[in-house]
Symmetry: C2
């Protein structure tokens, strides 16, 4: 009976780490009023979690095509539809550096592709974050001015990354 | 800040409970040689987990249409393609009561629909299980001759169910 890590193990680590990182980031930024950006809606579980844990801040969702659970689908005016390569630069003009929290789970199955995408998208995300704001990502990001934070309890090393401006 | 349970919380509870229940059932049936039936492949994470943790037993996968991760796709001869309403009765003829472990995660988002389906499918699953064999399910099942077991450590009440013949 091999005890190698399975895809189920990896997935659970990722979900648990995502939740612990988000809960940490939500608490850390609780005094800020700037909007929250969820990059990638997917099934909507993380969005649902944020909506339940956060009050008094707008949560905007960036998504190419909405395919979420009905319980976890944002109102039209909170949805920023399109490819993030276009919607992120447009949002810098619209919002400026105001985001209190940005969460991204953009990655797919292919680790190398995820890394290429993370490198591409990092400079598009960076100018959106307010002073003191946090960015939580399932992939390592490549920021010039943000600081990587030590991971809070419950986060598995390498499954989640947290950055602060 | 509400601390109501989110869909992310529920999902993590389900995955963690599934893994703990499966690991328990794999250990409990380790001395048996009969095949293992995975009902519903989905993304293939649970199948991948079982393949890593189990040796010396065949693992057959029942699925309508394979859409799993390439790492977690069974060989053709281990795949029983079709609607379980038909493939389960056909498997009773093919295998008889020989399964050492059956795992089912058939449910969708709708709780009531899941329950209707669990009631329908329970008598189709029941005759496949060998004496001493275990059945692990994400939904409550309706068996006539199987005994519901107390949940092992790490399983959240109501997120997983374990039955023994």
């Amino acid at each position: 009976m091999s005890q190698d890590i399975s895809r189920l193990d990896l997935f659970i680590d990722r979900m648990v780490s995502q939740r612990a990182s988000l809960d940490f980031a939500i608490t850390q930024t609780a005094d800020m009023t700037g909007p929250i950006f969820e990059l990638g809606l997917g099934n909507g579980r993380t969005y649902h979690h944020m909506r339940q844990r956060i009050s008094g801040r707008d949560i905007f969702v960036f998504e190419r095509a909405v395919a979420s659970h009905p319980d976890s689908t944002p109102a039209d005016e909170m949805l920023i539809l399109g490819d993030v390569r276009e919607t992120l630069p447009a949002s810098v003009e619209r919002f400026g550096p105001t985001a209190s929290l940005i969460h991204a789970d953009l990655g797919g199955h292919n680790r190398e592709k995820n890394d290429v995408f993370a490198r591409f998208v990092s400079p598009l995300i960076e100018p959106l974050l307010a002073e003191g704001g946090l960015m939580v990502s399932s992939d390592r990001m490549y920021f010039e001015t943000l600081t990587e934070l030590p991971l809070p309890e419950g986060v598995v090393e390498g499954r989640c990354f947290i950055y602060r401006r």
